[in-house]
Amino acid sequence: MLQPKRTKYRKMQKGRIKGLAQRGSSIAYGSFALKSMDEGFITSRQLEAARVALTRYMKREGKVWIRIFPDKPMTSKPAEVRMGKGKGAPSHWVAVIKPGRIMFECDGVPLEVGQEALRLAAQKLPVRTKTVVRRDYQE
């Protein structure tokens, strides 16, 4: 699963997700892409599940690009522990997603295959998505 190699600080504040994606909102590498329509946190497990679904349907042909990276640490407290006594321990990593963000791109497969693969990948993600095709795409 994806996670940073090393970080300056172990824990991070929750923060708020405001506005739309100002960068990473257009297709850069492939011909088809999965764009987020909502804001949210995508965990490294969800990202990996989506990648596996995508590559499995594409039968490992073509190429896949992951355009997001889970670089925000999330913490959790152990079960049956009273509130207080400090912040919990780091438990997993998430990617912060704003509406309009391109999350996956793929290429090297026919349009129908690419769109179906991205639909299957979207099933693994906690945000509403849409499939986008490059403007100058040609079969």
Binding site: M1, L20, A21, Q22, S25, S26, K35, M37, E48, V52, R60, E61, P99, G100, R101, G108, V132, R135, D136, Y137, Q138
Partner: protein, 214 residues
């Protein structure tokens, strides 16, 4: 380059409020520059979508308030969620002034390498070409028929009369590479199913190791 006509109406005022009103009316704010003065105008979204949603590059004959000019699309901005065009930049063309355009690259024929199980890898969909507007072709054609597996065509191999390609001459434009299917077929075909299972198995093993570490 292909030619197309577009008509626009000059903007009465510039600014956020005005631009929003233009978009609400089904038009797109635009600017024309490159000449003596810059002109702010608006064009119909429907007419614009027909030009931008194609792989072709157009030389546009703009008519703004009765004045005709020739231009190309230099830049575009899109809404991050809806993907609708929100602003377009046009660059005025002059017959005696060089212009840089991203021209589409198209391949002709089926490569020998593809017939024998390879796959075509296109590293560039468009190449930046500089030349006089009259010299610029519609697209660049590359004949890939003689290419075998492992062969490639570089930017330096492409010649456009009267124009200069701005990309690195050593950069590979088209290559024919071996596919995984072809490799497994060459290995005897027995590895196909097992290989896939092996990869999934690796994934679960990694997950298990990480969970144990936590």
């Amino acid at each position: 380059m292909k030619k197309v006509s577009l008509s626009g109406s000059p903007r009465e005022g510039v600014g956020k409020k005005d631009a929003k009103a233009i978009r609400a009316a089904g038009n797109v704010p635009a600017v024309l520059y490159g000449g003596e003065t810059q002109t702010h105008f608006s064009i119909s979204r429907l007419a614009l979508e027909k030009i931008i949603n194609t792989p072709d590059v157009f030389q546009i004959e703009l008519e703004i308030g009765g004045k005709k000019t020739t231009a190309i699309i230099k830049d575009m901005q899109f809404h991050p969620v809806t993907d609708l065009a929100i602003h377009v930049d046009f660059l005025e063309l002059f017959a005696d002034k060089d212009v840089t355009v991203g021209l589409p690259v198209r391949t002709v024929g089926t490569a020998v390498g593809i017939i024998s199980g390879g796959a075509k890898i296109m590293n560039f969909r468009k190449l930046d070409v500089r030349g006089l507007p009259g010299d610029l072709p519609e697209y660049m054609e590359i004949n890939v028929k003689p290419l075998e597996i492992g062969d490639s065509i570089r930017v330096g191999d492409i010649k456009v009369p009267g124009c200069q390609i701005l990309q690195d001459p050593n950069a590979i434009v088209v290559a024919i590479k071996t596919t995984r299917a072809a490799m497994s077929a060459a290995a005897g075909g027995a590895l196909g199913e097992d290989g896939e299972e092996g990869e999934e198995g690796e994934g679960t093993a990694e997950e298990g190791a990480e969970a144990a570490a936590e």
